[in-house]
Symmetry: D3
Subunit: 133 residues, 6 copies
C-alpha cells in the first residue's frame, strides 16, 4: 500500500460545552497542524499517489474555509463541540468530497483511504481515517 502525506495548518477560536472540558469551556483557540495522508494500492502512470502540488492547493482551500474564524459562529457546527476529533472528521469529509468532485485531480479518484490528523500541541493530536469509496 502506498501513502502520501502533506501538511498545512489553521488557527481558530472556539469554546466547548460539557463539564468534561473544564477551562476549555471558555472561549479560547488553537493552531492545528494538519496532516492529510492519501493511500492507494498502486501508483498512476506518472509514479505518484496524487499530484502533491494540486493536493496542497486543494487542502489549503478547504482549510481556508475554517482558519481565522471563531467556530462558535459557524452554522455548519451549530449545536456541536468542535473538538479536535470532530474537526478531523469534518476535514476528512471535505477532502473526500473534493476528491470525488475532481478537486485533487482525476488520478486522485483511485485513492482508497484518507487519514486526517490534527496536531493541537506538542503533546496531543487527533485523527479520523476512513475509506474514500
Amino acid at each position: 500500500m502506498y501513502n502520501v502525506s502533506i501538511r498545512d495548518h489553521m488557527m481558530i477560536a472556539h469554546s466547548f460545552r460539557g463539564d468534561v472540558f473544564g477551562p476549555a469551556q471558555r472561549l479560547h483557540g488553537a493552531t492545528y497542524v494538519v496532516d492529510v495522508e492519501f493511500r492507494r494500492p498502486d501508483l498512476d502512470a506518472d509514479g505518484i499517489v496524487v499530484d502533491i502540488g494540486r493536493a496542497s492547493e486543494a487542502l489549503h482551500s478547504i482549510l481556508a474555509q475554517l482558519t481565522y474564524r471563531n467556530l462558535d459562529d459557524e452554522p455548519s457546527f451549530a449545536g456541536r463541540n468542535t473538538t479536535t476529533e470532530v474537526l478531523a472528521r469534518t476535514i476528512f469529509d471535505r477532502v473526500v468530497a473534493a476528491i470525488r468532485a475532481g478537486g485533487f485531480g482525476g488520478g486522485a479518484r483511485a485513492i482508497t483511504t484518507v487519514r486526517v490528523t490534527l496536531h493541537e500541541s506538542h503533546i496531543a493530536s487527533a485523527s479520523f481515517e476512513g475509506r474514500v469509496d
Copy 2:
C-alpha cells in the same frame, strides 16, 4: 476510525542480557518519550474519543511507577530484558487494565484499540498495538 494521541515521558536505567545487545549489556539508561493512541469507531456525546485531561493524568500515574528507577531491580521484570519493545507492551497492558477499571473515565471503555510508542532517540522507536476488548 477516530484516534487521539497523548505524549509524556519517563527516564530509566537498565541493562540487557544477550550478546546481541553489545555495549547495551552494561548498565545504561534511556529517556522514553511515550505516545499513547486511543482508537474507537465513534465519538461519545461530547464529541471526544477520551477525556484528554483525565487520560493524561492516568498515563502519568502509570509512567510514575516506572520512571526514575533502575528496571533491573523491579520484580515485575525479573528474568526479562526490558527492551523498548517489552516496555511498550508493559505500558500497553497497564493502560488497557486502567481503561477497563475506569481510570481513563467511563467513556473510555468504548475504546477498541490502543497503541503505545516509545521513542528512545531521534533515530529509533518501538511500539505495541492491540485491542482493548
Copy 3:
C-alpha cells in the same frame, strides 16, 4: 555560558487590529508551544542552572493566567495587539518578575538572561530575549 530550556503550551483566542493582519483581524486563536531558556555563566553547587521541576511549575502557573482565554477580553492587553511577539514579551516580563520574587527558587536569581519563544505553527515562531538583572 550555560543554558537550560523547558517547554509548555497555552491555547488562546484573540483578534488583531490593523490592515497588515488581513484575515487575522477576525476573532481566531492559536496554540503557542512555549520554550523558556534560562542562562547563567556558572552552575550552582548542585550542578544546575535552575531547578527544572520548580521552574516547570512556575512557568505553568504563569501560562495558566493566559491559557483557555480570549485575550481580547483581558484588561492587561487593552488597546494592544496580542501578537506572538507581544505575548513572548509578556511572558518574559512575568518570568523575570517571578525569578526576582523567588518563584523559580533562590538559586534562580543567578540567572542573567531569559529567552521566551512561542511556536505558533510548524512554520512560524517569535521570541523575546533580555537580561534579568
Copy 4:
C-alpha cells in the same frame, strides 16, 4: 503487534518526466529522511523485534547504493520516474530481499510487515507498506 522503527537518510539528484511535475521536471534533488518500520506479532527470545544495530547497518548499506547519486543515471530506474513513492517501494523491496537473505539477522525472518517512509521536506512524505512473507 510489535513495531520497531529506525531512521537514516540519503541525498540524491533526479528529474521527472510529465507535465504534472511542473518545475520538478528540471534536474533538482532531495534529502530523504528514511524511516523503516518492522512489525511482527511476537518478540524473539531476547525480547526484540530485530537487532537494531544490525538493522541499522543493513539499512545503511541499502541506502549507500542510492545516496550521493544522480538517479537519472541509474540503470535500475531507466524509463521510470524516481518519485518519493517509487523510491519508498524500491527501498522496501531491497529491505525485504535483505531480510530474506539474512542480512537483518536470522531472527528478522519472523518479521511479517515492513513500512518504508521517505520524508522529503517538513511538509511532505511518502511510504510503501507490505508483507514480507
Copy 5:
C-alpha cells in the same frame, strides 16, 4: 531583543569539488528546510517584527530562484562549492538586499539582524547570521 522566524524549503541538485567531500563530489541533491530569523530591538506600531505574510512571500520568491535547479549550472555560483554554508550566506545576502529594497515591507527596514538556517537532514544544518544595517 525580539525575533520572528519563518520556514520554507527548496530542493536542488549540485556536486562539490575537493577530496574533503568524498562521495558528495558526485552529482547529488538536497532538500533544504530554510528558517529565516528577523531580529530588532523594538516592535512597530502594530506590535510586530515583520509582516509574516509579506515576509513569507518575499522568502518564497527568493527560494524560487534556487529551487528545482542544478546549482552546478547557475552562473552566480560559478567556480564555487554550493555547500550548505555558502547557500545560507547566499540566501542571507538576498534577504538583506530585499529588506533594503522594501520587499519585506517598509517596517522591515528596522530589522537589525538576520539569521538564515538550512537544515539538510535530521542530523545536520548550517546557518549564516549577520547585521542588516
Copy 6:
C-alpha cells in the same frame, strides 16, 4: 558568522545527590540527543566551517566514552552530579580539546565558538557554549 550543527546521541545511567532532585536521586537514566554547533567568521577554501564527515566521527568517538555506561561509576565524574548541564560542559571541553589536537581536521582550528546542547526529553534541554581560542 557561520554555524554548522551536527547531531548524535548517547544513553547513560546515573543518580543525583541533593534534595532538589527529588525522585531523580534514585538510579535512573537518560537518552541525550546531542547537537554540537561550530561557529567561525569565515569559511575555508572549500566553502565549509568543518568537514562534517570527520566532525561526526570525532563527536561519535567522544560520545562513545560516555554512552552505555553508569556515570556514577566513572572516575572523571567522582563527587559531582552528572546533570545535563554538567554533561554539556564535559562534552564541550572534550570537543574543544579534540579540535585543538586536530581531531576535527586542520581547518577546524579556525572555529571560534562551540555550543553543545543535550536534549533530555521532548520538553527539556541544556547547553554549554564557549570560545575555542
